[in-house]
């Protein structure tokens, strides 16, 4: 049995009348990446703030790193590292001084503190900028310094609150690489994000937070299976060809405006071949054929009350597979 890095039961928090977290349960096994996914204002940051001891919950039993959050917050703090949504670096001092500040607060001996600081600056490609004030850093550099500072104490559980929000694509991919490295070193990661792709890339388990409740939880694949999504889309340029194909194929979903037909499919080669065979037999030749696999976007919009599921208007549920 693996032990849990984070376990929360009935986590509740409201500000005045506004219920932000309405009794959520979370469990994160050690050495895994757990992603809390949700739109802006869903309560992701509040959850991180509570779990990282920054603010107190109204109710709920919470254990982080095996320590009770309510009775022993200092033990929890010793086990965790937090990188918030807004960079938690001291802009007035240099990157190196920020690192040494962390080393001092973790009570590392001077020489070891210098060594750890230099190593992490090197690892996060900040050695050149180490002597410049952190306020002059770019967004990506600040975020890297932020994570480097979090790692000074060698925490076993790391909270990353929207670590790639506002980063350019290259910096985002770098950040993903950093997170994967951490996990391969046995660290447990609690990640919040509004990017589905990010959760899909990194997380072992994903919980979708919507209106203060967990709308769904599971692996990315499990979540994708929750809703219909995969299909083959045939597009025609000639309305006559479209009409004849539509009447021949009958069961498929039609999009008369785009002259496109959608045939449910899981995207496997086997199914694709049988669809192609079927089309040849029916003598249908589409001008464009694209394969759509369900992605977390579909899940996200379906679960968080987004109006329509993209890519598949009017698709009846029973048509799936």
């Amino acid at each position: 049995m693996t032990s849990l890095a984070i376990a929360a039961n009935g986590l509740r928090k409201s500000y005045g009348d506004k219920v932000v977290l309405d009794g959520i349960d979370l469990s994160v096994p050690e050495g895994t990446v757990f992603s809390l996914l949700g739109p802006n204002g869903a309560g992701k940051t509040t959850a991180v703030k509570i779990l990282s001891t920054l603010i107190t919950a109204d109710a709920g039993e919470i254990r982080v790193g095996g320590h009770d959050l309510a009775t022993d917050p200092q033990a929890v703090r010793a086990a965790i590292g937090v990188t918030g949504q807004f960079s938690a670096v001291d802009g007035l001092i240099t990157g190196e001084e920020n690192m040494l500040l962390m080393a001092d607060l973790h009570h590392l001996p001077r020489a070891e503190g210098r060594r750890v600081a230099a190593e992490l600056l090197e690892r996060f490609d900040l050695t050149e900028a180490a002597k410049k004030p952190a306020s002059t850093y770019s967004g990506g550099m600040k975020r890297r310094l932020d994570i480097a500072m979090t790692l000074v104490g060698d925490p076993r559980i790391i909270f990353l609150d929207e670590p790639t929000t506002g980063l350019d694509p290259r910096s985002r991919h770098n950040m993903w690489g950093i997170i994967r490295q951490l996990v391969s070193g046995g660290v447990s990661v609690f990640l919040t994000t509004q990017y589905l792709e990010e959760a899909d890339e990194l997380a072992d388990r994903i919980a979708v937070l919507s209106d203060g409740k967990i709308a769904a939880e599971g692996s990315a694949d499990e979540l994708k299976r929750l809703i219909p999504g995969g299909h083959v889309r045939l597009r025609f340029t000639d309305p006559a060809a479209y009409q004849s194909a539509a009447s021949t194929l009958r069961e498929v979903a039609r999009d008369d405006e785009a002259l496109a037909l959608q045939i449910p499919s899981d995207g496997s080669q086997r199914e694709l071949r049988s669809i192609l065979d079927w089309l040849s037999v029916a003598n249908i030749e589409a001008d464009e054929l694209t394969v759509h696999t369900p992605d977390l976007d579909d899940v996200f919009f379906a679960l968080t009350g987004g109006a329509d599921i993209p890519h598949q208007p009017n698709q009846p549920k029973e048509n799936v597979r």
Partner: protein, 261 residues
């Protein structure tokens, strides 16, 4: 590590951080020094003769002796405005949230600010004192003991005002608000016996000048440096300082320990 040595170690780390800020960005501290120095020069060189006649002194040097204790305490009031501003600015930084999630001594962030601020206040007092000496201020016949007592009073007073200023910084959402909230620290000395004796003020105003922390502290400092009558003022100013320090400490601790927004 025992909790006391943890407190000392983390607080001194935080102090180093604050001193680094002050050293790298000295403009705030230096700007705040301008007010007391300008008032000193203004009252001595522009209004000096009239003021001197007003307190029954023979010439301008009599007024220099009168005004300097008040200016020194005003310097403290002025530097703690900087404390309020830097505390409120600091609290809006993400790094404070980081500190709160680390296994460090809880109060070290605030203690670092307080100790750093008292050190800056003392340095400022020394600088303003040097200007005063340069324009002719002399502490006549003060003993070593009186000098030490004067120094102790200045430190205690700085500590008291700093704790209050930290509380003001903690309740201020931004630097502008902090600067406004801390304004009484600069205004109160103007309403004290710093520039004219209380009994030379209109009768209805005298209680305002008398029952506030600056006047007894100024009278005590005057007595220690110049040998004037101290009377009860010594005890009253110690009581004011301790009271304000405890009040400011409890206020700041309550504010800092409550959940951040």
């Amino acid at each position: 590590m025992s909790s006391l040595s943890l407190a000392v170690r983390d607080s001194s780390t935080m102090l180093r951080r604050n001193l680094l800020h002050a050293r790298r960005y000295p403009s705030l501290t230096l700007n705040l020094l301008l007010t007391p120095i300008m008032l000193l020069l203004l009252f001595v060189y522009i209004f000096g003769d009239a003021m001197s006649a007003g307190i029954g002194g023979a010439d301008r040097s009599a007024y220099i002796a009168y005004i300097v204790p008040g200016i020194l305490l005003m310097t403290i009031g002025s530097t703690v405005v900087g404390t309020a501003v830097s505390v409120s600015g600091d609290m809006t930084e993400g790094i404070i949230a980081r500190f709160r999630t680390m296994a460090i001594h809880r109060g070290s962030v605030i203690i670092g600010h307080v100790v750093g601020s008292v050190l800056q206040a003392i340095i400022s007092v020394v600088l303003v004192g040097a200007v005063a000496v340069a324009i002719g201020f002399r502490s006549t016949d003060a003993t070593v003991l009186e000098w030490l007592a004067a120094f102790g009073l200045l430190v205690l007073f700085a500590l008291a005002l700093t704790w209050i200023a930290v509380g003001m910084g903690l309740i201020s959402p931004n630097a502008e608000a902090a600067s406004n909230n801390a304004m009484p620290m600069i205004l109160l000395p103007l309403l004290s016996s710093a520039f004219v004796p209380v009994d030379a003020m209109p009768g209805w105003f005298q209680p305002i000048a008398e029952y506030q922390p600056f006047t007894p502290a100024i009278e005590t400092l005057r007595g220690l440096l110049l040998g004037t009558e101290i009377g009860n003022n010594g005890w009253i100013s110690v009581a004011w300082s301790l009271g304000l320090a405890v009040l400011g400490y409890r206020w700041s601790a309550a504010k800092f320990n409550s959940d951040p927004k």
